[in-house]
């Protein structure tokens, strides 16, 4: 999903008006625009590359199809974000210069998914995000481009991107709604990379994939955004601004030295849905649950290093097919469930997370499965258990969101329900038991089982207003984990919901809340205010514009060079620096440059300074389009 912050403080027309000048200046200044893009040389922040040639002349004002009509394409985008809407209008403007008429169609994200992304073969009701053959499975409505969507680039576990880029015919390609068929097989390379123990081999395989994606242009990779985290300057101990910023939020405090005291209030824009981990699939619910439950372990640093929390350590077998986790001693459940042991984990994973009929309504039911097969889970000691991978090794297992941040529930809490499930005669009855656990058990609803397992204890949850947690004096991690001292340092931790952005920002300016996300359009103003500290952190999501290569898209989009030509016409630097106010960087493939698996020499930068011009785009299209298309 798109991660730009939207907002309504700056007129879209104003931006476009500015782009009219900025765009021209940008093109003139970047000097490139030759008809074929060049591999980047990496000698400047936009890739540098070969010395640019003169901008080719345009071939005409209008791209005409074999019937003599101007080519008209449909660009759907999700509404609600000013940045997305402005980007869509800018793309329309640039493609208009190429000679292609673009019809913009804005609609809500859910509706966009239903009508344009989900597809199914004719006669089938089971719509998914890859219904198989791109000739047979199409969306309800025809489309050509799509905006307002972003894909996680998984910079630490890039094999996870196989769901986006594997061939449309593969089951593993669960999100290939645009009907992409790679020019070279991608999925085997990702699979081999995830199983290889040799870092050089992995780098070669991963970077090759990123090179293929940059050349194939299944989507137009647009930008990598940054996250803007605002804090009042009385908050100390913020930590390093890495991708895992906040992994050690327990160590934050007020003032100059770490001591216990004060109420910390974080402002957020959306309410939480649940405090029940099994049914939490949104960041807001997780943020509240995490205050009371640390989870198995976290990742930190620039490369996602393991930092034990409940799990003190792990061991991997030689071929990376089994991982043994050891729990800390002294982890205590609340509500009288005793010590957390490996038995709790094994029972929970087997009978809840891997339950065949998903009686508990797990919203992430595939977590403990590998390619559809359940992972083996065995207790190896009172505090240790082993997870085995049924379909081969995975060196990135630790950094995947399987055990990373995983929660557990006490066996004593789950068992009575699960025993009833085993006795239930129908699926409806099993579901009813699962719903009873989720909706009526007070220990679940109020996190009563959390014991000493998190830095804070549940106090109250005013659904549309505030979640309040108080300091957990028995917190297991105090003076135990890493070099943490007597954590946590706040007496009370609140998460306050604001439905209206301007109210949230006003509360932050007035000092009524201590932290909140900063919208792009207010970054400059707020970062210069006294008493406010804005921390920029990288975002793993890539904003992109898929090209519909299914049967209800423009048939020419199935050609690699046509997609390249269109991407060439859209200068990403303008989108990053002007529309995103310099708070994003151009993206040319599905991996950020800070990733250790990114190899600049393999990435082709369509839409970058060396491969961006209208004339160049027209020549690429002219060369690639079927007979009968012409520029007039």
């Amino acid at each position: 999903m798109s991660h730009d912050s939207g907002g309504h403080g700056f007129g879209r027309r104003d931006i476009l008006k500015g782009l009219g000048v900025g765009g021209v200046a940008g093109l003139a200044g970047c000097t490139s625009g030759d008809s074929t893009p060049t591999d980047s040389g990496g000698d400047d922040d936009d890739g540098g590359g070969d010395t640019a040639t003169d901008t080719p002349e345009r071939l005409g004002d209008t791209l005409v199809d074999p019937d003599g009509n101007q080519v008209e394409l449909t660009h759907v985008y999700s509404t609600g974000s000013q940045t997305t809407e402005t980007t869509a209008e800018y793309i329309k403007q640039k493609l208009g210069e190429v000679g292609i008429a673009v019809n913009l169609k804005g609609l809500g994200f859910n509706q966009m998914l239903v009508q344009y992304a989900q597809n199914a073969p004719e006669g089938s009701d089971a719509a998914s995000f890859n219904g198989g053959s791109r000739d047979e499975s199409v969306s309800q409505e025809p489309w050509d481009f799509m905006s307002g969507i972003g894909f996680n680039s998984y910079p630490f576990t890039p094999s996870s991107i196989n769901v986006f880029w594997s061939d449309v015919s593969k089951d593993i390609a669960t999100v290939n709604f645009y009907g992409y068929k790679p020019s070279e097989p991608i999925e085997p390379k990702l699979s081999e990379a995830s199983q290889s123990g040799d870092p050089d081999t992995r780098l070669d395989l991963f970077s090759t994939v990123f090179g293929i994606l940059s050349e194939d242009q299944p989507v137009n990779f647009l930008t990598l955004a940054t996250v803007l985290n605002g804090f009042r300057d009385r908050v100390s101990g913020l930590g390093d601004p890495t991708l895992f910023f906040g992994w050690d939020y327990q160590t934050r405090y007020f003032g100059d030295s770490a001591s216990v005291g004060g109420t910390y209030t974080s402002g957020t824009s959306a309410p939480a849905k649940t405090l029940y981990p099994i049914r939490s699939n949104d960041a807001e619910s997780d943020a509240r649950i995490a205050l009371a439950l640390d989870g198995a372990y976290t990742l930190k640093g620039n490369q996602g290093e393991f930092q034990g929390l409940w799990v003190e350590s792990y061991e991997r077998n030689d071929d990376a097919t089994a991982y043994e986790f050891t729990l800390r001693d002294g982890l205590e459940w609340g509500a009288g469930y005793g010590q957390m042991t490996a038995e709790d984990w094994v029972y929970y994973i087997r009978n809840v997370r891997q339950a065949e009929d998903n009686w508990a309504g797990d919203v992430n039911p595939s977590t403990f499965f590998q390619q559809g097969d359940p992972m083996g889970v065995e207790q190896t000691g009172e505090l240790s258990f082993e997870i085995t991978l049924p379909n081969g090794p995975d060196l990135s297992f630790i950094q995947k969101p399987i055990m990373w941040g995983a929660y557990c529930l006490p066996k004593g809490l789950i068992q009575p329900y699960y025993e009833r499930v085993q006795d239930a005669s129908s699926e409806e009855d099993k579901i009813a038991i699962g719903n009873e656990l989720a909706e009526e058990d007070d220990e679940i609803l109020e996190l009563a089982y959390s014991g000493n397992l998190g830095p804070y204890s549940y106090e109250r949850w005013d659904r549309d207003s505030v979640f309040v947690a108080s300091r957990n004096d028995d917190y297991y991690a105090a003076n135990t984990v890493a070099d943490w001292g007597n954590v946590p340092y706040f007496e009370e931790y609140r998460i306050q919901v604001f439905s209206e952005q301007s109210t949230r920002i006003s509360a932050f300016e007035a000092g009524e809340i201590d932290a909140t996300g900063i919208p792009q359009e207010q970054y400059e103003t707020l970062s210069q205010q006294d008493g406010i500290n804005v921390v920029q952190t990288p975002d793993a999501f890539t904003g992109l514009m898929p090209y519909n290569q299914r049967a209800n898209g423009w048939d020419q989009l199935r050609k690699q060079q046509v997609r390249q030509g269109i991407s060439t016409a859209i200068p990403k630097r303008v989108i990053a620096e002007q529309i995103n106010r310099g708070l994003a960087t151009p993206a040319y493939t599905h991996q950020p440059e800070y990733s250790q698996w990114y190899d600049d020499s393999k990435v082709v930068r369509f839409g970058g300074p060396d491969s961006n011009s209208i004339g160049g785009a027209q020549r690429m299209l002219d060369e690639a389009l079927d007979d009968g298309y012409s520029f007039e």
């Binding site: 998914l113 769901v163 595939s366 909706e439 109210t503 006003s506 509360a507």
Partner: protein, 338 residues
């Protein structure tokens, strides 16, 4: 026709209209594209899970399994018996959500409504009897200001001026400003509903809401009273030496009260579903209107149905009460032909 038969007929009509509206709502929700299901499926698919299985899970936890007619029957029975379902976005019963939200709305809607009824009506009547004076112009200005200024903008401006930018202001030894930017529920928990700490965070919401309400009330009262200012019976009263207050209250206000009842009853009934969407969203008051707004935004069907049903029932009930009140207030109105 007796009045009892008339009321019975109206009640029957109200029940029928409620049935139709509930069925209409049910159909609308069934036809609504996607709901939150698509984004849930997308989230699962991006993690490598099956979108089809995710759809099943979504229906399972939202109670959307089973044939349509069974779900419709369950829905109608539940609505009739007060079991209005489970809010998945809040993980609590709809009735509980509504009952928790209601006091938060009432605490600002009650003073705003009473103030606007009393002040708006009084100024409207006064303006009608003192046309084209400075007082009339001032009242007209206030009413046009209230009608013209968007609540949304007005609320944000008040926050910026009174809560963010304003220095602290003390009036008669009481620290008034800056006011809190947003509504904080702990004021009620720590100090109670009736406390200065709670009241001061309602000042801006009441100002915003009552400004708009006063405007309508004032203009309506003024226009209604104008019909009677030069009526024969008013002139007669004046000729008989009745005081200005007596003329105003006994000879102008009383006949004007009949059309004014329409707006009075609507506003008083409105207190049972109190809340103004924009006011609650801007000031972050966790009341009924915000509950309904969030339910709509997050496509929480049971909650949205619950919060929508209340105003519908109140609307139907309000129409009934208005018709009956006319017959009580003015004996010349006969319900026999209705």
């Amino acid at each position: 026709m007796s009045m009892r038969w008339y009321v019975a007929r109206r009640l029957g009509w109200t029940a029928f209209a409620t049935f139709v509206i509930l069925s209409f709502y049910f159909a609308l929700i069934q036809l609504a594209p996607g709901g939150g299901q698509a984004s849930f499926q997308f989230s699962v698919a991006t993690s490598g899970g099956s979108a089809e299985e995710a759809a099943e899970t979504y229906k399972q936890i939202r109670g959307l399994t089973g044939p349509l007619h069974e779900r419709y029957l369950d829905y109608m029975v539940n609505m009739a018996t007060g079991d209005w379902g489970w809010s998945q976005t809040r993980n609590q019963e709809v009735i509980t959500a509504i009952s928790q939200a209601y006091p938060y709305s009432l605490q600002y809607a009650l003073p705003a409504t009473l103030f606007s009824i009393l002040f708006g009506t009084a100024v409207g009547l006064y303006s009608a009897t003192h046309r084209y004076t400075m007082t009339d112009y001032t009242g007209t200005f206030i009413s046009f200001f209230g009608i013209s200024i968007p609540n949304f903008w007005f609320g944000i401006m008040l926050i910026l001026i009174l809560a963010v930018q304003a220095p602290e202001v003390t009036l008669f030894g009481v620290k008034l400003l800056p006011l809190p930017v947003y509504y904080q529920t702990e004021a009620v928990l720590n100090h109670g509903w009736v406390s200065w700490e709670n009241a001061r965070q309602l000042i801006m919401p009441v100002i915003v809401l009552s400004t708009a309400q006063i405007a309508g009330q004032m203009r309506y009262s003024r226009a209604t009273a104008m019909e009677y200012v030069n009526a024969e019976f008013v002139k007669t009263a004046r000729a008989k030496g009745a005081s200005d207050w007596r003329v105003l209250l006994r000879h102008i206000f009383r006949p004007a009260l009949i059309p004014l009842m329409t707006i009075f009853i609507a506003e008083i009934l409105g207190l049972f579903f109190a809340g103004a969407y924009l006011v609650e969203v801007i000031f972050q008051i966790p009341g009924l209107a915000k509950l309904s707004y969030d339910a709509l935004i997050s496509q929480d069907t049971p909650l949205f149905m619950g919060t929508s049903l209340i105003p519908i029932l109140l609307l139907l009930l309000g129409n009934l009460l208005q018709d009956i009140s006319y017959t009580v207030l003015d004996p010349r109105i006969d319900y026999g032909d209705r």
